[in-house]
Amino acid sequence: MSSLRPGSSRAAVRRLEQRVADLEADVAEMRRHNVRLAEIVDVVQELLVPMASRDDEAVQKAIARFQESL
């Protein structure tokens, strides 16, 4: 951290603080995709095959079964 040598200015510290805050926000932004992706994969995995069958009864059953597990 060359910008934090003894005698470095307050402005340099402030810049680093801002950078840490930005990095935290960036990490949070990426981490929030995890549960989103998991939920969508779960829906696709459980409902895609019955829906592709185009059998309405099977589709309704699959949805009902899926919803019972929420």
Binding site: E24, V27, A28, R31, R32, N34, V35, R36, L37, A38, E39, I40, V41, D42, V43, E46, L47, M51, D56, V59, Q60, I63, F66, Q67, E68, S69, L70
Partner: protein, 517 residues
């Protein structure tokens, strides 16, 4: 040399205890021998005055916890005992409140209550019989077996692990049983998917479950006369760190968890991590061997941030709405309908539409609408609150359906949307104080639900608070950006969006009407 007595308790009255303390120590407060509360003599007290006859330490007051106060009317033997050493610092007959009768800290069913580590007044094991404890252990064993058959390797965790390893017993001050497992996966996506799959298998076997994050849920079990939720915390190891949902994010070795070992809990063998002391140290610090019922978790910021971002936020405000739901009664379902419900009734009649009441609460509007002859579906994530409305409707043979919907869980929204899309018909979506009670994700989900439910035309009627007025109810989450919400609706296919600024009981509200054609 005499060892200085570390704590003097001078008196107990309606305000609490007057304490003089040399060091900060946990003490148990017992009423007629039963522990009802534990506090730290320094951390949980406030300075009141300097006693000239007792040396340089101030008198401190330990105020009674609010949930305990309403039970404190009558006489009882009150004692204050050191949690670690068992030394008695106070033991007298005390009259509190009116001073008539006996003080009892019990619920309506006669179960003894105590303040738990989160400050709630809950049934605790201290006042419970062997039969109660054995019923809980039966329940724990069957949940452990169910989790194993669902494909994970569960162990007892947190307070339950501490009780088993340190004392071989359920901790008296504890109020529940905690279970955990460490996933075979090492990233949050797969850990959440696995948790969903585990829940699915358990639901198939008839267990009642309530999810509170992407990696943890509660399993409800009725043992003896008490319905309890056993917490199941998912965890994973990645790059030399263990994350166990709830509290733990720490450097850890896989061999400290697997293969699981066993410990004795009330004479029964329960699964524990291979090196339980490592997990206990990560949870309670190196002093875990010394009893401290008032111990409060101080989870590092880094861990909290990680869990919040990875797994949490799947049920914003649920604690509040669950409490409200528990209070729902036959009477609360039959109050006057809202103005928005009246408008929905007119509109539904004109469009020959069915009505979806999203965030129906206690179902007042839903029941009223059903009584006007409309076909109504009442949705809520605290679905228990709709039970009285459902009972009214069943008795009166009304077309009212009650369904679970969680706007902050895409699985819930997408599957319900798919169900509605497969049965197209004109609909009116009523969303009264939903937009302001949910997260940004919840608002996106409401728009998505409309796009799926209103393919045959219909309208969304939404009302919500805006602004940052201090008088807004405490369930309001953040400030809604009305323009952004209107843009969301257009993106979800609304042909027209009208925004009206109104006032209700002196507070500004916004009404948004979205039209799908």
């Amino acid at each position: 040399m005499t060892v200085a007595r570390p704590v003097w308790v001078r008196s107990a009255d309606d305000n609490g205890f007057s304490v003089v303390t040399v060091t900060d120590r946990p003490v148990d407060v017992r009423i007629d021998g039963r522990r009802v509360w534990t506090f730290w003599t320094h951390r949980d007290t406030v300075p009141a005055a300097f006693p000239l006859d007792r040396g340089p330490w101030p008198i401190r007051t330990a105020p009674w916890p609010a949930p305990l106060r309403r039970h404190l009317d009558g006489r009882a033997r009150i004692s204050v005992v050191d949690s670690a050493t068992g030394a008695t610092y106070f033991d007298r007959d005390v009259a509190l409140g009116g001073g008539e009768g006996e003080i009892r800290v019990r619920n309506k069913k006669g179960v003894d209550l105590g303040i738990d580590k989160s400050g709630r007044l809950v049934p605790t094991f201290a006042g419970r019989s062997d039969r109660d404890i054995s019923a809980l252990l039966d329940a724990t064993e069957s949940v452990l077996a169910a989790l194993r058959s669902a494909g994970v390797e569960p162990f007892v965790a947190y307070g339950t692990l501490l009780g088993a390893v340190r004392e071989g017993k359920v901790l008296g001050h504890d109020s529940d049983a905690d279970l955990g497992y460490v996933s075979r996966y090492s990233n949050p996506v797969d850990v959440a998917r696995e948790s969903f799959e585990v829940q699915r298998r358990l639901a198939r076997d008839g267990w009642e479950i309530s999810r509170y994050s992407g990696a943890s849920f509660k399993i409800y079990v009725t043992e003896a006369d008490v319905r309890r939720g056993l917490d199941v915390f998912g965890g994973f190891l990645d790059a030399g760190r263990l994350y166990l949902m709830g509290e733990i994010g720490t450097p850890f070795e896989r061999e400290w968890i697997h293969p699981l070992g066993t410990a004795e809990l009330e004479g029964r063998a329960v699964p524990v991590p291979a090196r339980p002391e490592k997990l206990l140290e990560a949870t309670y610090g190196p002093g875990w061997r010394t009893p401290d019922p008032a111990f409060k978790f101080t989870t590092p910021e880094r861990t909290i941030r990680a869990f919040d971002d990875w797994f949490r936020g799947v049920q914003p405000g649920l604690r509040h709405w669950d409490r409200k739901a528990a209070q729902a009664s036959a009477r609360s379902a039959v109050k006057k309908p809202s103005l928005l419900a009246k408008r929905a009734a007119k509109l539904a009649r004109r469009l020959d539409a069915e009505i979806l009441d999203v965030g129906a609460g206690s179902g007042t509007d839903s029941l009223w609408l059903a009584r006007q002859g409309h076909t109504v579906t009442a949705y809520d994530f605290a679905v228990r609150g709709l039970a009285p409305a459902r009972e009214h409707a069943a008795r009166e043979d009304l077309p009212l359906d009650v369904r679970y919907l969680n706007l902050a869980d895409r699985r819930s929204v997408l599957s319900e949307g798919a169900r509605l899309a497969s049965r197209p018909r004109p609909r009116v979506v009523l969303a009264r104080h939903v937009v302001d009670a949910t997260s940004g994700l919840g608002r996106e989900s409401l728009a998505r639900l409309c796009s799926m439910a209103l393919r045959d035309g219909g309208q969304l009627l939404a009302e919500f608070y805006t602004g940052t007025d201090a008088r807004l109810p405490d369930w309001v989450l953040g400030t809604v950006d009305t323009d952004a919400f209107a843009t969301l609706l257009r993106g979800a296919g609304a042909a027209q969006v009208d925004v009206q600024e109104l006032e209700r009981k002196g507070r500004p509200i916004v009404r948004v009407v979205g039209e799908w054609s």
